[in-house]
Symmetry: C2
Subunit: 339 residues, 2 copies
Amino acid sequence: MLIWNLKKLNSINKIYLNIAQIQKIVSNDLENVNNIIIQNIGNEVPMISELSKHILAAGGKRIRPIITLLTSKLCNYEGKNHLSLAACIEFIHTATLLHDDVIDESKLRRGVATANDIFGNKTSVLVGDFLFSRSFELMVENGSKQILEVLSSASSTIAKGEVLQLTTVNDCSTSKETYLNIINSKTASLFAAAAEISAILSNKNKLIQNALMTYGQKLGIAFQLTDDALDYIGSENLGKEIGDDFKEGKITLPVIICIKKANKEEILFWNKTIENLNQTDQDLNTALILMKKYKAIEETLALANKYCSEAINALEVFPSSEEKLALESLAKIAINRSK
Amino acid sequence: MLIWNLKKLNSINKIYLNIAQIQKIVSNDLENVNNIIIQNIGNEVPMISELSKHILAAGGKRIRPIITLLTSKLCNYEGKNHLSLAACIEFIHTATLLHDDVIDESKLRRGVATANDIFGNKTSVLVGDFLFSRSFELMVENGSKQILEVLSSASSTIAKGEVLQLTTVNDCSTSKETYLNIINSKTASLFAAAAEISAILSNKNKLIQNALMTYGQKLGIAFQLTDDALDYIGSENLGKEIGDDFKEGKITLPVIICIKKANKEEILFWNKTIENLNQTDQDLNTALILMKKYKAIEETLALANKYCSEAINALEVFPSSEEKLALESLAKIAINRSK
């Protein structure tokens, strides 16, 4: 009982780290990863290095490779292979981003523009392919058969999730289960792999491997749920615009919650705006009012919070350490990006 | 001397096989490969199986997997891994086809349509990604580290070639060397890998491995050169339309030859039609007349013929056999597809 109380107290009073503090813990490793990334983009084909640098340099906080670096440290890994594998994880992520940016003809006709406007659809696709195959080369060079299995399986799970998501766009009958299946595949599988490979690299037992995989997976789901909520509340930090998903007719949890609770009139609204993509300037505002009415954002963020706790709980098998605190903090950051 | 004469006579009188006869030699293996392809598309995500089947079922003569099957037979390989690896080669090829189909916004605006019109850009990209990552899973399951190195390197070489090709579109200053570099990367590298992996699978020495790699590479170049010539002469067999490359402003050898020999007026023509994509209905006809004037198609096909001979010569290290004849025939077929 005392132990339980102490644990509870500890978790209540815990002072989490911010992203800069986390990055500092793995700063040497992270610099090495960045160098590996630059080296592997190469300069043989100018268009590849130009676009890759554009997206990789602007590429945010390197959360996925940081997970590999921190979990490797947590497992007391003493080799160097985690560096290339962390770069490889970032390459897969970047390739996915590039391919996500591809515009459909129909959307183009409606005038929706994305980041790939600078370079064009085809460049995004082909440079994404290059990064993806380069990541594959890096893995083969640095990973065991078991690591290759985890990473190749994650890659095809991501692709399956992306296709599944595409089939639910504009489909108001999409269930919460399908949505969770999609984000588990398209987002959480890479987070899970990023953590799991550290246990394999360090020859840890199945228990540790599963703990890290679970940490990554739950964190990934929490991350995506938060992302999907942020699309309707915005974030100063991330410079995010409100309503991109709505304008594309993408079905995310906030919309699913509203549709489930909708009255007849509201059903017509969602069918018009999401299913038929027939939207006026006022419609996003109406959507936001409905989300407030049904507490859809709160419910989404509460679910993200639940997954965040599960991610942190998965780390219980590890003794306290700086890197464990950093991983717990990362989970907290994933769900607190709106602040 | 007598030996030389006999060899010469033999090569002159050699009766080559047609594609149906070649397929018959590996028919059992080919059926297994087709089954592996179907199994690995799966039916979890209907859109993936639908599009994959659409493109893989219509997917021509399976030339690349047949190369793996025939070269494995040539190396007396007795295992089963060549079947999955052949399927894997076809997956990579199909993914490339799907990504090649992606339309650029600018082209769409000019009304050029491709096969992906049925499914849309984004589906082509994401299903291509799925096939590519599935091929990766298959390799990891069935290939040694050395095979993974060959296949991952081929994949990134293909991507580099595709991007390089994209940067030369509409660029009338593209040299023959750059063009050969592009087709060597985007087409020949997969043919080379398809043949080389059989030597590795069968633990053959470096000499055999290089011979098969060279066979595949030369065959791939001959194949692409012929393809690029066919774009200006058409083929009843292949149901090919004339002038697709011209309409896209793609720089291939026939155009490079014409530009190199062009007078001032002709330079203006190529700049207008290829560089600025300012084309009238008459322009394709003018291009064909210029190609006739400078024997551009003959020169392209003569070069294809040279590479075909080099492919066949690379097989000299092997004793005569049914599968050797089939591989030689495949090289002949590659350059005779217009008939």
